[in-house]
Structure formats: structure tokens, C-alpha cells
Point group: C2
């Protein structure tokens, strides 16, 4: 199974995982990593390294981050490794809900593309949809 | 100026507004509306009606919601009114940051389209971007 990390500013990661658990009505397998804005860049990197070191090296990892261009995204990019660890930016609830409700038969690439599509498709201007 | 409401499950709205304020280093003009999952639909509708009633009737309103198909989105759709009130679903931090940092010279339509674009453009698979 793919390991899911959610890395964000503030308490966003914890809050979003909690909401998904409330929606699906059971615990989900995702690890939140929350950063204070006043942390130094070296502290961010150490925190992420510690979390990644604790994961079974045989597992694939998808990291969701909150803001393209923000520190949680920038600091995780160097860890990207083809078919092993991927970072998807621009986290929203649909993306997270998708990833945490997939069966084990999807490939790593399908999961990444599916999460991206779920996130983008969820962004709708209601007036255009309803008219 | 356009009124921005952020309507979500749990404390997501408050948490996201707080993060944007930390990033831009000043207070922003957005109203969070947070819902417990155990509220009845009529309670949701009343809460939104109360918030909208408190807004100057001359103001345009953009409502950002967290999850297309979720209760906060579904309950706000009936309030959509062309050029007056719009709902954009699939909230992420980039969408909110965009809306809260625009000058007053953009039209209502430009703000809605810009928020949608900012949200979608922020969703990137890093491995594809970096390669």
C-alpha cells in the first residue's frame, strides 16, 4: 500500500484528515506533518527527513502539500524519486478524499494522476455548473 | 469590494484564513463559516442565511466551499445569483490566497475566473514539473 503524507502550513493537514475521517466514518491511513511559519528551513527539512526515515523503505510515498511555491512544497521537492516518492501540490479535500478511498489495485502512477484529476475536477464555479 | 465567505466542514475555513494571514502578514477580509457534520440541513441553511443577511445588500459575494458534493457546497448552491453571489467549490490555499490579495479594479467575473484558475493551476505533480 502507498504511504500518504499530508504536509502543510499550520494545522491544515490534521484538520483535513480529521474531516475525511468524519466523512468516511472510519480512521484513514495518512500522516499529517504541520509546520509553523517561524520554523527555519533546516528544521523543516529535518522534520520531513525524520518522517520519511520512519517509513518502510519498500513502500511508495505520495506527499500532498498545500501551496505550490510555499515552503512545505519547496522543501519536499528534493525528495521526489520516480515511481518511489511523488509530491502533489495544491491540496484540497477532494484530492485527499480520493487518495484515502482507493483500493490497492491501482498503480502508483494511477493514484498520482487520479489525485491530480480529483483535485482539479472539484474546482467548479457553481453558476456555470447550474446554468 | 467583494465579500469573501469561506464555508467548510470542521475548522478548515478558520485554519486556512489564519494561514493566509500568516503568509501575507496582515489581517485579511474573509468570513469563515464552519460546520459540524452532525448539524441538520436546516441548521446549515439557517446559519448561511444569517451570515448573508448581515452583508450590505449592495455588495457582491463569493463563497468558497471545500468539497464539491459535500453539504457546505450543496447548501449554498440555491443562493447563487448571476453577478451577485457565486459559489466556487474545491477550495485550496492558492485559490484563497489569490482572492484575498487582489486589487479592487477586477470585475466580479474576473475574480471568480481568477480564483478558479489559481486553484487549478496550483495542482501540480512535482515529478512532471521538475523533469
Amino acid at each position: 500500500m502507498t504511504e500518504i503524507l499530508v504536509i502543510t502550513h499550520g494545522n491544515l493537514a490534521k484538520e483535513m484528515i480529521k474531516i475525511v475521517e468524519d466523512i468516511v466514518e472510519e480512521p484513514v491511513k495518512a500522516t499529517p506533518v504541520c509546520f509553523d511559519l517561524d520554523l527555519k528551513q533546516s528544521d523543516y527539512t529535518r522534520k520531513i527527513t525524520d518522517v520519511l526515515d520512519a517509513i518502510d523503505p519498500g513502500r511508495q510515498v505520495i506527499i500532498l502539500t498545500d501551496l505550490f511555491g510555499g515552503t512545505p512544497s519547496n522543501i519536499t521537492f528534493p525528495f521526489v524519486k520516480k515511481d518511489k516518492l511523488e509530491v502533489i501540490t495544491g491540496l484540497n479535500l477532494s484530492m485527499l478524499l480520493y487518495l484515502l478511498t482507493q483500493s490497492d489495485d491501482k498503480s502508483f502512477q494511477e493514484l498520482c494522476e487520479g489525485a491530480k484529476k480529483a483535485g482539479k475536477d472539484a474546482i467548479v464555479i457553481a453558476g456555470q455548473f447550474l446554468s
